[in-house]
C-alpha cells in the first residue's frame, strides 16, 4: 500500500514539537475533558500523564508527599488488544495487524457499542484506534464517569463472555461447554471424528463453517451440550475479548486520543462505530504524513488571505470531524447538567 512506507522512529523528537505546536486539536480536546466544567474544577482536577522517551512515565502525583490524592471519576473505558486474539487468528500474531484481523476489532466495536447503548443506556461513546493494533472505547456519559469500581467490574463482566486461561480450551459455555484448532472446540469425540473426515473436502472458510453447522445440526438431539454449540463456537472465535482489568479500575492510564503511537508514528484517531468495518488501520496517517501534507498544502496556496487551521490541511481532518460530532452530543448533556446544578429543571 502506498503509505505503508516505514515510519522512522528516530525522527520523532523533531516531529513531535511540530505536531503538538500546530496540529493537535487543543480546543476540541479541552472541550471534551472539561465536560462543560460542571463542577467548575472538572478540568483543573484532571490527571494527565506524559511518557518521555524510553517509556519513562510522568504522573503528576507523588505518593511520597501527597497521600490524599484519590481518583474520583473517570470515563468507563474498554481496551481491546489484538494480541488477545492470537489463538484464533492465523494471519498475524503479537503486535502485527492486517486488514484480515481488523475484522475482529470491527466485530468487537459493533457488539460493545450496541451493548453499551441498548443495555446500559450510555450515549456518548468515543471509539479510538490505539495507533497500532487495538481499539479503545471511552464511555463519557456523566453516569458512566461516576460509576463505582464495583459497578465497572459488573459491566465489564456482563460484556465479557470469553473467559478461561491457557489450560481451558473451550472458553465459552452457555448455561445449560481447541483443533483445526477448530475441531478441538468440539467436545464430543464422535462429532469430532465425523468432522475431521469431511473438513478436508472444503476449500474455503465459508464452506467449512457450513459443514460444521450441518454436522452439529444433525446431532443436536443426541446431546444436551450440543444445543448451543454452534453459537458457542461463534462466540469463542469472534466475540470481543476484553482486557477487563482496564475497565474495572479508575486509576488505569489509557493512551489519549490524538496522541502519536511511539512505534508506528500513527495518530490515535477516533472513528464512528458504524464505520468500523470500513476503517483501515494501515491508512491512518503517521505524524510524518501529516507534516508533509501541511507542507504540500502551504506550497500550493501561498499568498491566500484567509488563514486555515493547520489540521484542516491534512488527512486528519475527517477524524476531527468525528470527534466534533461526538462533542456536540456531549455538550447537550453538559448543558442539562449545568442547568441542574444551578437549580433549574429540564423539561
Amino acid at each position: 500500500m502506498a503509505n505503508e512506507k516505514k515510519f522512522e522512529v528516530h525522527l520523532l523528537p523533531d516531529l513531535l514539537p511540530v505536531y503538538y505546536g500546530r496540529l493537535f486539536p487543543y480546543e476540541q480536546y479541552y472541550k471534551w475533558l472539561s465536560y462543560g466544567n460542571v463542577p467548575k474544577t472538572y478540568f483543573p482536577h484532571r490527571e494527565f500523564s506524559f511518557t518521555l522517551a524510553d517509556d519513562i512515565y510522568l504522573r503528576p502525583k507523588d505518593h511520597r508527599t501527597v497521600t490524599a490524592f484519590v481518583p474520583l471519576e473517570k470515563e468507563l473505558v474498554f481496551d481491546i488488544d489484538m494480541t488477545d486474539y492470537d489463538e484464533v487468528r492465523y494471519c498475524c500474531s503479537g503486535a502485527d495487524i492486517c486488514l484480515l484481523c481488523w475484522k475482529y476489532m470491527a466485530v468487537a466495536v459493533e457488539i460493545l457499542d450496541i451493548g453499551l447503548r441498548e443495555d446500559f443506556g450510555f450515549n456518548h461513546i468515543l471509539w479510538v484506534f490505539s495507533g497500532r493494533r487495538g481499539v479503545h472505547g471511552w464511555v463519557c456519559d456523566a453516569r458512566a464517569r461516576s460509576l463505582s469500581q464495583l459497578a465497572r467490574s459488573a459491566v465489564a463482566e456482563y460484556l465479557q463472555v470469553v473467559r478461561g486461561g491457557e489450560n481451558q480450551t473451550k472458553k465459552v459455555i452457555f448455561n445449560s461447554s481447541d483443533l483445526h484448532p477448530f475441531i478441538n472446540l468440539i467436545p464430543d469425540p464422535e462429532l469430532r471424528e465425523n468432522l475431521s473426515k469431511v473438513m478436508p473436502k472444503c476449500c474455503n472458510s465459508l464452506q467449512r463453517w457450513e459443514t460444521i453447522k450441518n454436522e452439529i445440526e444433525g446431532m443436536k438431539n443426541k446431546k444436551k451440550s450440543f444445543t448451543h454449540l454452534t453459537t458457542e463456537i461463534m462466540f469463542q472465535l469472534i466475540y470481543p475479548r476484553l482486557d477487563i482489568n482496564v475497565s474495572k479500575g479508575i486509576n488505569h492510564l489509557l493512551k489519549s486520543p490524538f496522541s502519536i503511537h511511539p512505534k508506528t508514528g500513527r495518530v490515535c484517531v477516533p472513528f464512528n462505530a458504524s464505520d468500523a468495518y470500513a476503517f483501515n488501520p494501515l491508512r491512518v496517517p503517521t505524524i510524518s504524513d501529516l507534516i508533509e501534507e501541511v507542507g504540500e498544502f502551504d506550497k500550493t496556496r501561498t499568498g491566500e488571505a484567509v488563514k486555515i487551521t493547520d489540521y484542516k490541511k491534512t488527512s486528519m481532518k475527517s477524524s476531527i470531524f468525528v470527534f466534533e460530532k461526538f462533542l456536540s452530543g456531549l455538550s447537550k448533556e453538559n448543558a442539562a447538567r449545568r442547568l441542574e446544578e444551578n437549580g433549574w429543571c429540564m423539561i
Partner: protein, 545 residues
Amino acid sequence: MSFSTGKAMITYFHTKIIMEIYSTKAFRRKQKILVESSYSSSLQFYSEPPTGNITLKEFDELSFLRAIERINLSGHAKNSEEWMQKIFEDFQKNKFFIISADKIGGTKNEDVINARRKDHLSHFILRLAYCRSEELRRWFVAQETDLFRARFVRVAKMGADFSSFLKENNLHFSQISEEELKQESVNLMMATYNINSVDQLEDKTFFKVPFVEALELVRNRKVFLKKGFAYVPSSDLVTLVSTVFRSKLSQALTATYKALPQIEDDERLYSLKDFDKRHTGSDYSQKKSASGQQITPEMLNHLSTTSFPLCMRHMHEYLNTQHHLKHGGRMQYGLFLKAAGLKLEDALKFWRSHFTKNMDVDKFEKQYAYNIRHNYGKEGKRTDYTPYSCMKIITTNVGAGDCHGCPFKHNDSNILKQKLINYQVSSDIVNEILDLTNKHHYQIACQRYFEAKHHSTIESGVNHPNQYFEESVAILHGTKTPNKAASTPNIKYQHSVLTSQSQASPSTQSQNAADISGVESMLFDDDDDMDDALFEVAMQTDVNS
C-alpha cells in the same frame, strides 16, 4: 454458646459505652433512641445502635456467622435450597435465638422481641470487634450478608410482608406496568434467570431499577437490561435488598474503624481487642519468610517440584518455557514468592532472567520492574501487598492467555490429568482428584495432591499457597513429623479458610469448628472482589468528604 469458661472475661458491661461510641463525631449521625419494643420486623438493617444494659453473652451472633461460614465451606451451593435448609437446621439444633426472632407478627410476644433485641445488640458488638482490619471487615460483611439473605428468603417463604420493612428503611423499588410487562415479555423471558417461557411471566411482577442497584445480577447476566435499567423479578427482591444491606454495612464498618482511636482506650472494651484475632488465619502479609528462611532464585526449580502447590508449580514451569507471565500470573506467583522468602533484589533478578529472553533489559526495567517493586511496597502507594489466598485464587477471573488461577478449577480435566500423571501421581489418586474437582472441592483436591507428594497431610486443610509451601518445607526438612495421611477418605478437617488454631484462646467459640467432618469447597461467587471494591470505595469517599 456461653462465655462461662472464660476466666478473665468481663461478664457485664454497659451499653452506654456503645452509645457514646456511636455518637462520636465520626458518625455525625443524628441519634434516634430506639424504644426497646419497637422491633417491628424480623430483619434489621442495623441502622441505629442499641441502648440499655447488655451482657457479654450477647456476642451470640458470632455463632451464626460461623455456622454460615462452615456451611458455605461444606460444599453446598450458596443460596440454594439445600444451603438454606442446612443453615436453619443448624440454627434450630443449636437453639439460636434467630429462630425466634424470625417469627412473623410477633411484635407482642416477649420472646420474639427479646430475640430481636439480642440480634441487634450482638450485631453492634461484633462490629466493634470486626472493623479492625480489611480482612476482618470483609469476612464480617460476607457472613452477615449471607445471614441476612438466608433469613430474608426464609421469612419471605413464611409469608412475611416486607412493605413496612422496606418503608422503614427507605427502600423503594418501582414496579413496571402491565403494559410494559407485555411489551417486553419476550426479552424478559429470554434474559431473566429461571424464567424459560412466557407463561411463567403471568403472575410475576418486575421491579425496574438503575442497573447499579442490581450489580450481582448484571455481573452474571441473569437479568434483562434496557437503557441502563435492570428488570428484576420480584422473586429477586432479596438481591436488591441485600445489596443495599451489604453496602450500608461496609460503609458503617469503615466509619467504625475510623472512630476506633477514640474508643480504643476504654477499658470496658479491652476484651474486644484480641477478640478478632481468633477468627482470622495467620497473616501472610507480615510473614518475613517461610520458617524464617530465605529462598533464592537458584532454589526455585528444585522447590517448585518438591514444595510448591500445583498452581505455583504450573506457573513456574510456564515461565521456564515461555519466559513470560501475564499480569494476573505475575501478581499471584510474585506475591507467593515474596511471602515464601524471596527478597526484592532476588525477585528482580529472577523475573529479569526470564523476561529478558523475550525483550531487552531496557524494556523489562521500564515496564515490569516497577510492578515488582510495587508488590514489595517500594513504589506507588507503598503498600506491602498480601499474597493471594486460595479463596482469592479460586474466585479470580482467568482470561485468554492467562495461566494463573487454581489448576483444580481452571484447567480442563484432561489437561489436569495429564499434568498429574507427568508428576507421577498414582492413577488412583489422579482419579480421586478429578472426581473432587468435578464436585468443586478444589481445596480438597489440592490437599490430596499434597498428600500424594508428601505422604503426610495438612491437618487444617489447604487454604493458602504459602501455608502449603511452609507445611511442605517443614516436613521435608524434618522440622515436623509427618502425619500419616488417614487411610479412610473421611479425614477430619479442622475448619476453614479463616481460622487459625494457634491463636485460639480458651474462650473462643470454636469447639464446633473442631468437629466438622464435612468437606470444604469454595463457592465461586465474587464476594471477595465485591468487598474489596466496596471497601475501597467506602474508604475513598471518606477521604474526600
